[in-house]
């Protein structure tokens, strides 16, 4: 109808319950293409749950989620289409332990995109080069450090050419000296026009790289603003308390 582009992700009044406990209550947010959003908040506030409803690792109980114009519901064709568009990077890497690094990255393009093995592996090699791990291609995940594994996980997600990448605390399981190598890769990605939603405790990264900060508290979005506004003077007391805790914690 109008010239403003459709947001690539629209969430409207999303609820998620575990038993009688509401992990998400009435969450609404939309994300435009190329936007990098940092999602922060205290432990148990529903950050992971929100991310996981976006690719249906958790099913939402109410509200609607529309990704790239496709509604996320029980329709399996919709789900397939959405999972092709949305990649995910996990806190614990979750690389396939029985496959080499190269096969880890090439598996989904071969199976889901029906690419030939040769093409998929050539592309996987290029992606591994991009994350600085070309020379590790024939090793197995256990032979790599945490930081290297997480960079492989990013390459694996990128191999499907997603429009959206979800990161759930990608550096939280890493030793401090490995955090930067992963953040560097993410920083470079942020400039490529891919839409990124990053749950993180790295406030430096949020402040420096993100276009937008969303603060979750008790299953709801309490603040949705720019990094400048969020870090200088957040509107809510809960967010102020969170920020001072984070600052003193590090």
């Amino acid at each position: 109808m109008n010239s403003t582009p459709q947001p690539i992700i629209i969430a409207r009044n999303v609820d998620k319950r575990f038993g009688s406990f509401y992990a998400l209550r009435g969450v609404s947010a939309s994300f435009s293409e190329g936007q990098v959003t940092a999602i922060v908040g205290p432990s148990g506030s529903g950050k992971s749950t929100f991310l996981r409803t976006l690719n249906r690792l958790e099913t939402h109980d109410a509200g609607e989620i529309i990704i790239d114009g496709i509604e996320l519901n029980d329709n399996l064709q919709h789900l397939d289409a959405i999972r092709r568009e949305v990649g995910m990077v996990f806190q614990s890497f979750n690389l396939f332990s029985h496959l080499s690094i190269l096969r880890n990255v090439a598996l989904a393009p071969i199976r889901v995109r029906k690419m030939s093995r040769q093409d998929a592996e050539a592309r996987a090699m290029a992606l591994l080069e991009r994350v600085g791990l070309k020379n590790q291609a024939h090793k197995y995940p256990v032979q790599l450090s945490g930081g290297q594994q997480q960079r492989v996980a990013i390459a694996r997600a990128l191999a499907m050419d997603p429009k959206v990448l979800l990161f759930d605390e990608p550096t939280s399981a890493l030793d401090p000296e490995m955090v930067n190598e992963v953040l560097t890769v993410m920083r470079e990605l942020a400039h490529t026009g891919i839409t990124m939603l990053v749950v993180t405790h790295e406030m430096g990264f949020a402040r420096e790289v993100a276009d937008r900060v969303i603060f979750f508290d008790e299953g709801a979005i309490l603040e949705d603003t720019t990094p400048q506004a969020f870090f200088s003077n957040p509107d809510h007391e809960r967010a102020q308390a969170f920020l001072s805790q984070v600052r003193h914690g590090f």
Binding site: N55, L57, D80, R83, R84, V86, G87, M88, F90, S92, N94, L95, F96, S97, H98, L99, S100, L107, A108, R111, V112, Y140, P141, V142, A153, R156, A157, M160
Partner: protein, 252 residues
Amino acid sequence: MNWTKKYPGWTMFGAMAGLLFFLWGVAIPLSAAPAPIGPAAQQFTEGARITVWLTLISGSVGVVLGILAGIGKLSKFMPLRLLCDFYVWLIRGTPLLLQILFVWLAVPSIMPTSISLSDFACAAIALSLNIGAYNTECVRAGILAVPHGQVEAAKALGLTPLQTFLDVVLPQSLRVALPALANNMASLVKDSSLAYVISVVELTMVGYRVQAESFQPIPVFLTIAAIYLILTTAFTTLTAALEARLDVGQKR
């Protein structure tokens, strides 16, 4: 053992070549042995071959059955789950000897007369069903041992449930289940001796016949025992090497 871990490929090759060489050539030293053994050398060799065949066939079918029933036991479809539970319960709760006799005596009476099963086939069916039930539990435990994060990663990449299972869950669970599956296979070498009750001329039956003719049970049974030991050693070496081979990417 260390050598097995270091060169699993060569060990597998060695164990297989050794087994074949043994089955092919054991008659030569045996025929040079004195009285009760020498004249029966050919029988011993035949018996060993039958035992190995029975083990390999039932072992392979048993692995397939174990995988299918192991998956079935974890199925969301209740009738299938109940069927697999029933199968494991039935087989593990009754003696193998009874199962062999049942297949041999009872099954032909309920089958169309046009189908006739050889004694060997009856033994192979009973042994397959038996080891399959034990394998089921190993496969099920292996599937349950695969971390959930592996499945989530596969889903997030867009793999279908079937692809997730075949590409990620099954290979990882078999790696976990392999030591137990191998163990079951090695005991099958010995369990196959029960086939003698339905007149399959395997190794134990050969021993029984030869000692009955010669009235010298001691040398005959010692020879049989030695052949069993060589076979079980070859099988355990083979499976240990296979295990080492599949150990790639596993935590050290």
